[in-house]
Symmetry: D2
């Protein structure tokens, strides 16, 4: 089985390594020399274009920054769909809007190429450890076909529904995540200002109806969760600018189907404000800065 | 040990019954004849004023609608503090602002009466079943003193810190709850509009970083959680107007300490809008109505 | 005609001076020695209590910081209503909630004392220059009775309706003001970031449908309006904390009548955030700071 | 002088008629047969493609629904830039994002074709009456060149700065407009609920610091402004869905330059909610519906 992997950045690079470690042959492409170097060292075969990597591939996996790149790689003049053989399978793991992947899947169908979406959660840590969750948008049959290869890179492969629903699940989850993180930031900052010990407050919340991933696993107040970015100066987490990107996707998709997202619209702007103040690369739990006095 | 119980409504009535079932003697007061009738039937001793109930009591428990009532019962001319003997213990289980209970505790101190706050979570179901959580704001010693009696009415008695911090924990938790419920409503409504099955979406969220009490236990989309109000037309839950009251307490307390609560300020108004549209008595998860077409 | 003036601070002090300049005899009271000194120098007669000032007065004017003070001065044990003669007229020029003045007016009625509200717009500059606008909540007859004295301190005396409606007009106006100022801040900051000259942008807005007092008279971008606080480092204007107070009154009044104020709820919190960052004493047009990079 | 006019809808159709009335020869194109019929009746020369209309034109005016159409008309394979002669002038009057017109202008430059943006305010009434305001983004020289022709369709031709700044001015103005309209809706609804007469309230606001175009000219409360849409059941105004489109442009442009627009982000969603409830075609002042009880 020949696997092509296009996009070998922070996430894609680690994912490809796990394929190589599992004994797969992988043909790879990336714009970055450093990324390609690392890929070669792991045993990957470097190609000079996406099309070259996809040549004769049975499975193409893409992990790219934005819809524009995904569209170019698949649908561009020298794109992957133009070179792939009938019967091959494309899995896009990027986080993009649902419509783009539906468009590409439709274009693939005309050439008997199956395209599906499988965005991930778990971050670079999950990518390295091979413990990602994949949210697959595909037919039942295609979903089954993705499982063997995705299982080499993650521990959960969840079927969300038809093509595009993997993206829908991802952006809806991250919409809720961005809002609930900000909610926890507000609640923790308010409680401490009102005189309660932050550990006592977190304890109550986590055993009550306010509990959420953002309060239990990634609490924005320092030293509540030992392994959370808040306990290491908001370093090495899910960057504010990436949360901002995902909120943008949610709100754009909402606009396309004329669906209001009131808190989402506000939280997007609050994350934009946080970036403006220079925190684009900090973990998104640093939104708590907006609730603390300026000097801190 | 003589226990006085003032405020025998939906919550207080059930709590008092659990004391009676546990073999305690309870002197009770309420404005409502129906409430008193029910209390008598359970073996309680009805009194005609709060002061009469508190006469010679060792422990006074109050469960009242708002700060105004708590203030009147304790500090009024014929109030409880004026009649209690030194060394008695007052436990206010109402949900009110932190400052009021601090003021009352200070007034009590002058008479060697110990006052603490112990607001609850768990709703009327928890009150009936005796499975409430009490969030106690008191000295360590007083906290220990409240445990035997509170344990007869609940399963968790949590120490939050000094007097007032029980209220702080409660309102911060409910602030986060109100926001995260609205977040889940937005995310679920958006996902379904974008074409994903609501069960599949809830499944992804609940195994990912968007998970929270509002998605797992009380999902606002019908028939995701069998026992949630959303699965019974938003009946018999935590009423929108009570959530609105608690958000009001959070925002008022925030204003007193000059602390911003951006999402809180907006969500309070969204719940106010929901009440304006006639849903004051539905469970607060009915906020999802704001995200669905008008005809529904 | 004997006039009593209670509350001789920044606003009240200037207003009283205008009465004195117009040849009126004025008996005054304030807690501040400095304020009383200034009042004496202008020819006022200093009294040691509000009650002393009101003794035998035909007209009492109050200008106080908050509802609590107004309530104390009128309804307290040694309050003004207890000492005034029947037939006298009380004009409260403070900015407070509408309900308080209605309560006081009702208490006055029982003693044949007429009480009305007449909050002002125009700031300290208008108070000094005698160019204030008074928004009067009173019966038609009382409104006519207030005009001679209010005209000595302002140029517009507007009848808003029954008692309390002066306050309603004031807080609704300032609600709109706080929001539209923030809107102009957003629009100006966005436009400049997108590359338009701020003067050109302000020119378009002010000749188009975005024009408002905040864009035309008090533009938050520096040097658009020569006399606006933005052109003098946001000094000597309408302080952020006073705007925050007025927004608080609007939102509190809205809550009492169960009326949603979505943008109001958010803007209140944005002004709270601005105060948290140390700008409580700057003009409220400094909200534009929230839209500029941190270092600026 | 040969003028081509592409896009003869509600706005463009009326604008072209004014050129014809002024004695100009106009070659026109639109997809709609009805629009072309009306154009012919006014003396226009119908063409079967945009390119045919632009053939040999000295000036091309475009008035199209969205950026996508503008891009296609100018840059498409059979686009206008491919057929125009060097030295010709293109004026795009559509409301689109600033970047698109900058891209087109750059493409034009390579062929010595001058492209500028001149979005309008004034609505269909202004288009009919020839009283539009044009916001021109162009060099000083090009601006002067647009004036003779634009003056035939409007009464104000304002120079905003370089190419794209016309769009910037338009979207910033409409951002402020959408927010201030909602602010006035909140303030009016609150005031009336608190008991003030809406006419009295509007009177105070319009002579005070809350005054804005939305309170003075287009007040959302019925019968305050006789000629406003609110006084004719919100018919025949600036449709909610068009305001929603413009807010979308503002927020998208803000995202591109990483600029927060907090109130804008929320108001966009409130207008989306209004559309969801079936009011997409009502005047945007119908946002006041969100502040009134459901039955109304």
């Amino acid at each position: 089985m020949k696997i092509a992997f296009i996009g070998l950045g922070n996430m894609g690079g680690c994912m490809a390594q796990n394929l190589l470690k599992a004994g797969q042959q992988v043909w790879g492409y990336d714009l970055s020399e450093v990324a390609l170097q690392h890929f070669t060292e792991g045993g990957g075969i470097v190609c000079s274009t996406p099309q070259a990597a996809a040549q004769e591939a049975d499975i193409v996996i893409t992990m790219l920054p934005a819809a524009k790149h995904v569209r170019d790689v698949y649908l561009g003049e020298d794109g992957v769909l133009a070179t792939l053989k009938a019967g091959s399978l494309c899995i896009d793991c990027s986080t993009i809007d649902p419509q783009t992947i539906k468009d590409i899947a439709e274009a693939g169908e005309a050439k008997q190429i199956v395209v599906c979406d499988a965005p991930v959660s778990g971050g670079t840590i999950g990518a390295q450890a091979g413990t990602l969750t994949f949210m697959v948008g595909a037919s039942e049959q295609t979903y089954e076909a993705t499982k063997p290869v995705l299982s080499l890179m993650g521990k959960n492969v969840v079927h969300c529904g038809a093509v595009g629903t993997g993206q829908v699940a991802k952006i809806c989850n991250n919409l809720i995540l961005g809002i609930s993180m900000t909610a926890v930031a507000e609640g923790m900052a308010l409680g401490v200002k009102l005189g309660i010990d932050p550990h006592a407050l977190a304890g109550v919340i986590n055993s009550s109806s306010g509990r959420c991933w953002s309060s239990e696993v990634c609490n924005p107040w320092p030293d509540i969760c030992a392994n959370a970015p808040a306990s290491r100066d908001y370093q090495d987490g899910f960057a504010t600018q990436l949360m901002l990107k995902d909120l943008g996707l949610a709100i754009e998709a909402a606009g396309q189907v004329k669906q209001p997202v009131l808190l989402g619209g506000l939280v997007q702007q609050l994350y934009q404000q946080l970036c403006l103040q220079g925190h684009a690369n900090l973990d998104f739990s640093s939104i708590i800065q907006q609730y603390l006095p300026a000097q801190k």
